[in-house]
Subunit: 244 residues, 2 copies
């Protein structure tokens, strides 16, 4: 921290090869949600003409008086129509390779956002939900910048945090059934879980869920009505819900 009292917005004299300068700082958000039992990622079409046909994570430049969390919330609101209390938001990682943006040095602070499947996915203008299974394939979108490096990190973070935190509850509504919660785990992990064992582990994890009143109506295919639950006070799970 040997920063002198130079002003941050000071211009670099033309032609000088200053070893230390300032960078553009942006925030990119990887928003995940579960729709129809499948994990989805929200992507937007950048308006830069040289990136036509590519898709990108919704991102915004950081403003002078804005914290990084505020920028992430603003990116979600402006580009995806997601308001702050509807989403879980946490910082993921910062990407700052000098060549990651062809237009110049941009340091990007990536965020991970998780939303329940409550709002209509077609409300944003240019945003679209993509199935994460398609992402690597030729059916999937071509990602701009280094976002093909950010997305796997976001997926791994989400998959890992479902194991030892109560983060899966961020994917479901305020009141939910254990079947809905199980389908979240199955969609994020890409596996199928035994319903009986899943129930036992969730109920035995202290503070994960608390029983709510009433029963949920079965789906169109029938089935026994399920008990309703709410999130419990715990954030870390003891014992953990480990992937198979």
């Amino acid at each position: 921290m040997t920063i002198r009292s130079e002003r941050l917005t000071s211009a670099v004299p033309p032609g000088s090869a200053a070893p230390v300068s300032t960078c553009a700082v942006a925030v990119d958000v990887a928003l995940l949600t579960v729709l129809d039992g499948r994990l989805k990622l929200l992507l937007v079409e950048p308006d830069a003409p040289q990136l036509a046909g590519h898709w990108a994570l919704p991102g915004r430049r950081v403003r002078d008086d804005e914290s990084l969390d505020d920028t992430a919330h603003r990116a979600l609101a402006e580009l995806a129509g997601v308001r702050a209390p509807d989403a879980h938001l946490e910082q993921l990682r910062t990407y700052g390779d000098p060549s990651r943006d062809p237009r110049g040095r941009v340091v990007s602070v990536a965020y991970l956002a998780l939303t329940p499947t409550t709002h209509d996915p077609t409300d944003p203008l240019t945003a679209q939900l993509w199935d994460v299974e398609q992402l690597g394939t030729q059916d999937g979108p071509r990602l701009a910048y280094d976002h093909d490096r950010i997305v796997p990190d976001a997926l791994e973070r989400a998959r890992s945090k479902l194991e030892y935190t109560s983060l899966a509850a961020a994917f479901v509504a305020d009141v939910f059934t254990l079947g809905e919660l199980r389908r979240v785990y199955e969609a994020v992990w890409g596996v199928s879980l035994d319903p009986a064992n899943f129930r036992r582990k969730v109920v035995s994890a202290r503070g994960f869920v608390t029983e709510a009143e009433g029963l949920a109506s079965p789906g169109p295919g029938g089935g026994r009505p399920a008990k309703r639950y709410r999130r419990g006070p715990a954030t870390r799970l003891h014992p953990a819900m480990l992937r198979p």
Copy 2:
């Protein structure tokens, strides 16, 4: 990502309240090591006159052609005398509150570094190892900037990663005994562990350690000579080493 093609080092016209500008980007490194069975954090004295009496994490500004990892390595080399292959280095989190640095907007990418206790701790000029137990107390150092927010995050990251990764091996030498590895866990977690159970868990975790040749000499207090081990190929531990 609506960044236009404006140059990143373009000067902001004086007096204009531009909502988007560039930031100074720095890297601060929280280096942890275990010395005499206690977890230590490396701090330096900033040379800024208004911060006399304060201690800070070693940090450097990011240069134009430098990746964030490179900056972290440079900060360790220049401020702590630690060369790259001697330390495990991973990104921790980015701190970007507008008021975190009183001299202006500085976005800091924090790194976590772990080193074995092999090099002499008195070689850097102004760097010093502090016992992490002293950090919150009045015997401890006064931390500059928002480094009192970074340090707890670094400690929690290290404590957590010891559970489900083989990161504890970064604290010991290339060849080590299970007693040395156990003292790492005890120092980082601040607990005392049963030697017999610890041995069983480490050996049964596939790929954590592999047996080396020869026996280690006992300490001055005696004791049976211990077998020597090396790091195994695993990075994730199965099963995990959970905190008591």
